[in-house]
C-alpha cells in the first residue's frame, strides 16, 4: 500500500532558524550600535557645546565688565570731587565688581554665576590651552585692583586717597585686563568650534556606517532572494518536466472537490476529455461513472479528507480502482471499453491533510491480459480435467455414453423445437426434459465424468425452477436451448478428445478389449457410491453379483444400468445412515448395498438392490407428501402404509431436506425407474423394514 505523502520543505528552510536569520540579526544589531553610539556622542558633545556657548558669552561679558569697572570708577571720582551725588555711580561700580569677580573666580575653579539672562549658570574651570593662562594672569591683575576698590568704598562714604589709587591702578592696567579677557573669549570660542567640528565628524561617520550597513543588508537580501528565486524556478521547471513526461494522470484534489493548479499532460489523454486546473472533479466523473459509483466516490474522498480513518485500511473501498469506461476509440472508429485506475492518497502539510494526490492510470492492457490469462487457465484446466476424466473411463463405455447422450440431447432438441399450444404442454415438456437430463447426470456421475455431471446439474436446476411454477410461458422456455447447447458443445469437445486418445492408443498398443459388462457396472456403481458417500460423510460398500449381466440383451442392460444408478444413489443418500447413527443402532460403520442379478426360472432374471440402511419410513414419506403441497393432511392420514410407501414412485417426490444438491432432492429418480422398467415389462417389488433395510426386486424376461 502507498503511504501518505508529505510535502517536503525546500532546502534553505530545512536549516536551523538561527542560521537562516543570522545575517539580519547581526545587521540590525550593528544598526542599533551605530545609532546608539552616535546618539550618546551627539548628546555629550551637544551638552559641551552648550556649556561652551555659555562660557564664551560670559567671557565676552568680562571684557565689557572690565571697561565698565574703569568707567564707573572715574564717574564715582568725578562726582566725589565736584561734591555731587556719588550714589548712582557707586552702586553700579559695586555691582560690576561683584559680577566680574565672581565670574573670573568661576572661570578659575568652576562654579555657579549669574548668567547673561540673569539666571544662574554653571561654568567649568578653564582648561590649559583653553583660556586657563588668561584667567590666571587676569586674576593676578584683578585681585590688587579689587582690593584698592574695596578699600576706597567705606560704609558711610568714600576714601578719596584710596579711590585715587584705584583709579590710577585701573588706568594703568585696564588695557592689559581687557586683552586678557579678550584672550579668554577667543580661546573659549576656539574650543567650542573644535567640539562642533568633532560633533559633525561623528554624525557624518555614524550616518555613513549606518548607510554602509544598510547597503550590505540590501545586497545580502537581494542575493538571497535571487538564490531563492532560482531554487523556486528550478523546482518549478522540474515539476513541469515531471508533469509533462509522466505517463500517469497526476493532479491534486482540493477539499472543495476541484482539480489543483497543475496537472500532468497525460491526464486529458487518459481520460479522453479536456481537463483544466480548477475543474470540478466530480462533474468530470459524472460522464464516466454511474450515479451510485459517483456517490460512493464522493463519500470516499470525504472520508479521506475527514482524516479519521486509516488510509491504508480503506484502499479496497476506492470505487474508482479498475473503473470500466466507454470512450470514443483513439482511431475514431466507434466506442471502446477502457479500464482506468484512480489511486487517491493524502497529502500532508504541517501534519494536516491539505490535498489528495490523484494518480490516474490506464490499465486496459493489464486488465485484458489478466482476462486472457484467466481464460487460458480455465480452458487449459477444463481440457486437462476432461482428458483425465475421459481417460479413467473404459473407452467402449465412454463411447457408448457419448453416443447415447448425444442421441438423447437430439431428442430433447426436437421436443424443444415443437410449437406448444399452452402452459400444460410446456409443463409436460419440462417434466420430460427434466427426467432425461437427470438420467444423463446419473450416468455421467457413475462414469466419473464430473464436467458433464455439473453441466447437467445446472440444466436440471433451471428446469427445476420452471417445474415449481404454476404456469410456464413460452418465454420461460428460451433459456433451455442455451443449456442444451452447452451440453452439446461439451460432448463434442469430449468426443474430439476420445477420438484423439483412441487414435493414440490404437497406434501404441492396438485395439482395446471390451471389458466384462457386469464388472464394469459394478465398478461404476462403487465409484458413484464412494463419491456420494464422501460428500455425505458416510461409509458405503457395494457388493455386486453381476456375473450374469452380460447375458442380458442390450436393451435390458441399458435399462437395468440406469435403474441401478438411481437406486444406488438413493440408497447412499437416503438409506445408509451416518457412521455414528449406525454404531448406535448396533450396525457396522460401513453401510452395505447389495446389487445382484440372478436367473429365476426359465428365461427370467431377478435384479435386486438392497441396502442395510434405515429403511423407508412411512411417517417421513407422509410429511414429505404434505410438504410438497400436493396432498392434504387428511388425504395422507387416510392412506395405509403400503400405499404411502408406493408414493415414492410418483414424479416430484422427495424427502431430501433443504436445497437440492446434485445427488438427491430433485424428486426424480424413482419415477424414472418405474417408467423405464414399464418399458421392459418388468415387475418391481419393494420390501422394507424401518431401521433394517430397503430392497427393490425386479423380475424381467431375458
Amino acid at each position: 500500500m502507498k503511504k501518505e505523502k508529505r510535502s517536503s520543505p525546500d532546502a534553505p528552510a530545512a536549516r536551523g532558524g538561527w542560521s537562516r536569520y543570522r545575517t539580519i540579526v547581526i545587521s540590525v544589531g550593528l544598526f542599533l550600535v551605530f545609532d546608539l553610539g552616535v546618539l550618546i556622542l551627539n548628546f555629550t558633545l551637544s551638552s559641551q557645546i552648550e556649556a561652551d556657548a555659555v562660557a564664551v558669552n560670559l567671557a565676552g561679558r568680562q571684557r565689557m565688565l572690565s571697561q565698565r569697572t574703569v568707567k564707573t570708577l572715574l564717574l564715582t571720582q568725578d562726582a566725589w570731587r565736584n561734591e555731587l551725588d556719588t550714589k548712582p555711580p557707586l552702586e553700579e561700580l559695586k555691582l560690576t565688581v561683584l559680577l566680574f569677580d565672581s565670574t573670573l573666580h568661576a572661570f578659575d575653579r568652576g562654579g555657579q554665576v549669574t548668567g547673561a539672562d540673569g539666571k544662574p549658570a554653571m561654568l567649568a574651570a578653564a582648561q590649559p590651552g583653553s583660556g586657563r593662562e588668561a584667567v590666571t594672569q587676569g586674576l593676578a591683575l584683578w585681585v590688587p585692583y579689587k582690593q584698592l576698590i574695596d578699600t576706597a568704598i567705606l560704609e558711610d562714604g568714600l576714601d578719596g586717597v584710596a579711590l585715587g589709587q584705584a583709579v590710577d591702578y585701573g588706568r594703568a592696567n585696564n588695557l592689559a585686563l581687557l586683552k586678557l579677557m579678550n584672550d579668554l573669549t577667543v580661546a573659549l570660542e576656539k574650543g567650542a568650534a573644535a567640539r562642533a567640528e568633532d560633533l559633525r565628524l561623528i554624525q557624518v561617520g555614524g550616518i555613513s556606517l549606518a548607510l554602509i550597513n544598510f547597503v550590505i543588508i540590501l545586497f545580502h537580501f537581494i542575493r538571497k532572494l535571487g538564490e531563492s528565486d532560482r531554487h523556486i524556478e528550478a523546482a518549478r521547471r522540474e515539476t513541469v518536466e515531471i508533469l509533462d513526461t509522466v505517463n500517469e494522470g497526476l493532479f491534486l484534489l482540493g477539499p472543495d472537490g476541484r482539480i489543483g493548479g497543475q496537472l500532468s499532460a497525460s491526464l486529458p489523454r487518459i481520460l479522453r476529455r479536456a481537463v483544466k486546473p480548477g475543474d470540478d472533479f466530480f462533474a468530470l466523473l459524472k460522464d464516466m461513472v454511474s450515479e451510485s459509483t459517483l456517490r460512493t466516490a464522493r463519500g470516499y474522498v470525504e472520508l479521506l479528507f475527514a482524516g479519521r480513518v486509516k488510509e491504508n485500511l480503506v484502499g479496497d473501498l476506492n470505487p474508482l480502482n479498475r473503473l470500466e469506461i466507454q470512450v470514443e476509440s483513439a482511431t475514431g472508429s466507434g466506442r471502446e471499453t477502457r479500464y482506468l485506475d484512480f489511486q487517491i492518497n493524502r497529502v500532508l502539510a504541517d501534519g494536516m491533510i491539505s490535498h489528495l494526490l490523484v494518480t490516474v492510470s490506464d490499465i486496459t492492457d493489464m486488465v485484458q491480459l489478466q482476462e486472457a490469462l484467466e481464460a487460458a487457465k480455465h480452458r487449459a484446466g477444463s481440457e486437462v480435467g476432461l482428458l483425465m476424466s475421459a481417460l479413467s473411463v473404459h473407452p467402449a463405455e465412454l463411447a457408448g455414453f457419448l453416443h447415447k447422450t448425444e442421441a438423447e440431447l437430439l431428442r430433447i432438441n426436437e421436443q424443444l423445437k415443437q410449437k406448444h399450444a399452452g402452459p400444460v404442454q410446456h409443463q409436460q415438456t419440462v417434466q420430460g426434459v427434466f427426467r432425461s437430463i437427470h438420467a444423463i447426470k446419473g450416468e455421467a456421475a457413475a462414469l466419473g465424468l464430473e464436467s458433464v455431471e455439473l453441466l447437467a446439474h445446472d440444466f436440471e436446476q433451471t428446469l427445476s425452477t420452471l417445474r415449481e411454477r404454476n404456469s410456464i410461458a413460452g418465454d420461460d422456455m428460451l433459456s433451455l436451448p442455451v443449456h442444451l447447447n452447452r451440453l452439446f458443445e461439451h460432448l463434442s469437445l469430449m468426443k474430439g478428445i476420445v477420438d484423439r486418445v483412441a487414435g493414440l492408443q490404437g497406434a501404441m498398443v492396438g485395439a482395446g478389449q471390451p471389458g466384462d459388462a457386469g464388472e464394469s457396472l459394478a465398478r461404476d456403481l462403487q465409484k458413484l457410491a464412494d463419491r456420494i458417500a464422501q460428500v455425505q460423510q458416510k461409509h458405503v460398500r457395494v457388493e455386486a453379483e453381476l456375473g450374469e449381466f452380460a447375458r442380458l440383451p442390450e436393451a435390458a442392460r441399458s435399462v437395468l444400468k440406469d435403474v441401478a444408478i438411481q437406486l444406488v444413489r438413493n440408497a447412499v443418500y437416503h438409506g445408509i445412515e451416518p457412521p455414528n447413527d449406525r454404531v448406535h443402532a448396533a450396525k457396522p460403520e460401513h453401510g452395505s448395498i447389495r446389487v445382484a442379478l440372478h436367473p429365476s426360472g426359465t428365461g427370467m432374471f431377478e435384479f435386486i438392490v438392497r441396502d442395510d440402511g434405515r429403511g423407508l419410513q412411512p411417517q417421513r414419506i407422509r410429511e414429505a407428501l404434505i410438504a410438497s403441497g400436493r396432498y392434504r393432511l387428511e388425504d395422507v392420514s387416510a392412506l395405509d402404509e403400503r400405499t404411502v410407501v408406493m408414493k415414492i414412485f410418483e414424479p416430484g417426490f422427495s424427502t431430501a431436506s433443504g436445497d437440492a444438491d446434485r445427488d438427491a432432492g430433485r424428486g426424480v429418480g424413482l419415477d424414472v425407474v418405474k417408467e423405464r422398467l414399464a418399458g421392459l415389462r418388468a415387475q418391481l417389488k419393494v420390501a422394507t423394514q424401518p431401521g433394517r433395510f430397503t430392497e427393490f426386486r425386479i423380475q424381467l424376461a431375458a
Binding site: T296, Y300, L303, V309, K310, L313, V314, L317
Partner: protein, 133 residues
C-alpha cells in the same frame, strides 16, 4: 521498558454471523501475529454485539455487515455511542462498496475484504492499533 511483560492489554470483540469466520479470526489472534490482544467476546448479530460491548468494554471490534436481526451499520453506530473510543474494523465481502463506506462514515476506522489471509487480517488489526507491521 522495565522488562515487565504486558499481556493482553487490548480487548477484541468479533461480530459475525458465521461461526467459521468467528473461529477463523479468533485463530489468527491466537497465532500471536497480533501481539497483546485477546478475544473477549463473539457476537452473532448486531444486538448481541451491543449487549456484549456494555459488558466486556472491548477496545477493538471486527464487524461483519450483513447479519440477521441488526446489521453491521446500525451496530457500528450503536457501538460508537456506547464506547466512543472503540476501534472498529469492517470485515466483509466486497459486494457493495457503498455499504462498507457507510459503516466507515458511521465510525468504523478500516476495512478488510472477505476472503482474507491471516496476514491481511493481522496487518489490518495492527495498523488499527497504530503499530508498525
Amino acid at each position: 521498558m522495565s522488562g515487565a511483560i504486558v499481556k493482553n492489554d487490548m480487548k477484541l470483540m468479533i461480530v459475525d454471523d458465521s461461526n467459521i469466520i468467528r473461529g477463523r479470526i479468533a485463530r489468527v489472534v491466537e497465532t500471536g501475529k497480533i501481539p497483546d490482544v485477546s478475544v473477549v467476546g463473539m457476537a452473532r448479530n448486531g444486538s448481541e454485539a451491543l449487549r456484549l460491548c456494555q459488558e466486556r468494554q472491548p477496545d477493538l471490534v471486527t464487524m461483519d455487515l450483513t447479519m440477521p436481526e441488526m446489521d453491521g451499520i446500525v451496530c457500528t453506530e450503536g457501538l460508537v455511542q456506547i464506547k466512543p473510543d472503540v476501534r472498529i474494523l469492517v470485515v466483509s465481502a466486497l459486494r457493495d462498496k457503498a455499504t462498507a463506506l457507510e459503516a466507515l462514515q458511521k465510525g468504523a476506522l478500516g476495512f478488510v475484504c472477505k476472503p482474507f489471509t491471516d496476514d491481511q487480517l493481522a496487518g489490518a488489526l495492527n495498523e488499527l492499533m497504530e503499530r508498525q507491521t
